[in-house]
């Protein structure tokens, strides 16, 4: 399966998806005007991964900002991970900066929808 690496830009996050290691990283800002287009390769990659996943899948989500159009795409990513969770043990680490209540709350919102436990991790600014 193909590794997907996207360098972060002022409007899009760094994505590192390494199927061979069962590892996914989303980090930085996600504020593109057209999020669907940006997240499409990752969504497709996760679909392919679910056919033959590792026994354990670790996901680090460390977003600084995301817009509402990305929030739907992040939910799509999480729903794919929820589906993978049947075939692999999925661990989702949700990082938020100290005092960033909005980002913590965003993680809690997703946790209420997605049936995979989140680990909330506070990081220093």
């Amino acid at each position: 399966m193909e590794i997907l690496i996207l360098e972060g830009t002022p409007k899009t996050p760094t994505i590192e998806f390494k199927p061979g290691e069962g590892y996914l990283l989303l980090r930085g800002r996600s504020i593109p005007e057209n999020s669907i287009e940006f997240y499409k390769p990752l969504i497709e990659g996760l679909d392919a991964y679910n056919n033959n996943p590792q026994s354990k899948t670790t996901v680090d989500i460390q977003l600084e900002y995301f817009n509402t159009s990305s929030s739907k795409c992040v939910l799509d990513v999480l729903k794919k991970l929820e589906a993978i969770n049947g075939n692999s043990e999925v661990i989702i680490n949700w990082y938020y900066e100290e005092d960033d209540e909005d980002m913590l709350e965003a993680g809690e919102d997703y946790q209420a929808i997605i049936n995979v436990p989140f680990k909330m991790i506070e990081v220093e600014e």
Partner: protein, 189 residues
């Protein structure tokens, strides 16, 4: 010659940090966000305030961007232009936008804003999750979350008005204030 000093004084008295009138493009959004970020760095705003203002800016600007993009192509260029201002007064930020809107869209927009304004923060949270999970996503990825998110992050009621332009157009003004030093207790109230 027009009196430029008058313009300057008006903006100075209005505590306007940044204003823009014209067509909203993707590159323009990037630039405005960068300018505001460095301005807030210079002012040494606390990270919490910076993030809130930045988030609301993104949503307001992208609302304008998608609104202008979605309007039909027959719209004259001056009607596609929008106004955008950021004001800071007594530690409170206000993000103001203005744009033309076809009359048919006024009632749905007013209804949406009134629905949001009638909710407290817990109701907004529930509503956001509901729309996030069940709402149809538009082709651009919007899907009606923008205003709910703006209201959640602002912590204040959304101020708006519609001014009649002619038989088909209305001018829509929105003022989003960013509550400062908000703590958990206040939010739950």
């Amino acid at each position: 010659m027009e009196n430029i000093h008058d313009f300057y004084t008006k903006m100075e008295e209005g505590n306007i940090m940044l204003s823009f009138k014209g067509e909203v493009t993707s590159d323009l959004l990037t630039s405005i966000l960068q300018i505001m970020e460095s301005k807030m760095d210079t002012l040494e705003e606390p990270p919490v305030v910076k993030k809130k203002v930045y988030n609301i800016l993104v949503e307001c600007l992208q609302n304008l961007y998608h609104h202008l993009e979605s309007d039909d192509l027959t719209t004259p260029i001056n009607e596609k232009s929008a106004l955008f201002m950021i004001k800071k007064q007594n530690d409170e930020y206000s993000i103001m936008t203005g744009n033309y809107m076809v009359k048919d869209n006024v009632e749905p927009m007013k209804k949406r804003l009134d629905t949001i304004n009638a909710m407290d923060s817990l109701q907004l949270k529930t509503y956001y999750k509901e729309v996030l999970n069940n709402g149809e996503m538009s082709s651009k990825g919007g899907g009606g979350l923008g205003m709910i998110d703006i209201a959640r992050k602002s912590g204040k009621k959304l101020e708006y008005r519609f001014d009649n332009v002619d038989d088909k157009l209305t001018f829509f003004s929105l003022n989003v204030k960013v509550a400062q030093n908000k703590n958990k207790e206040e939010k739950v109230k």
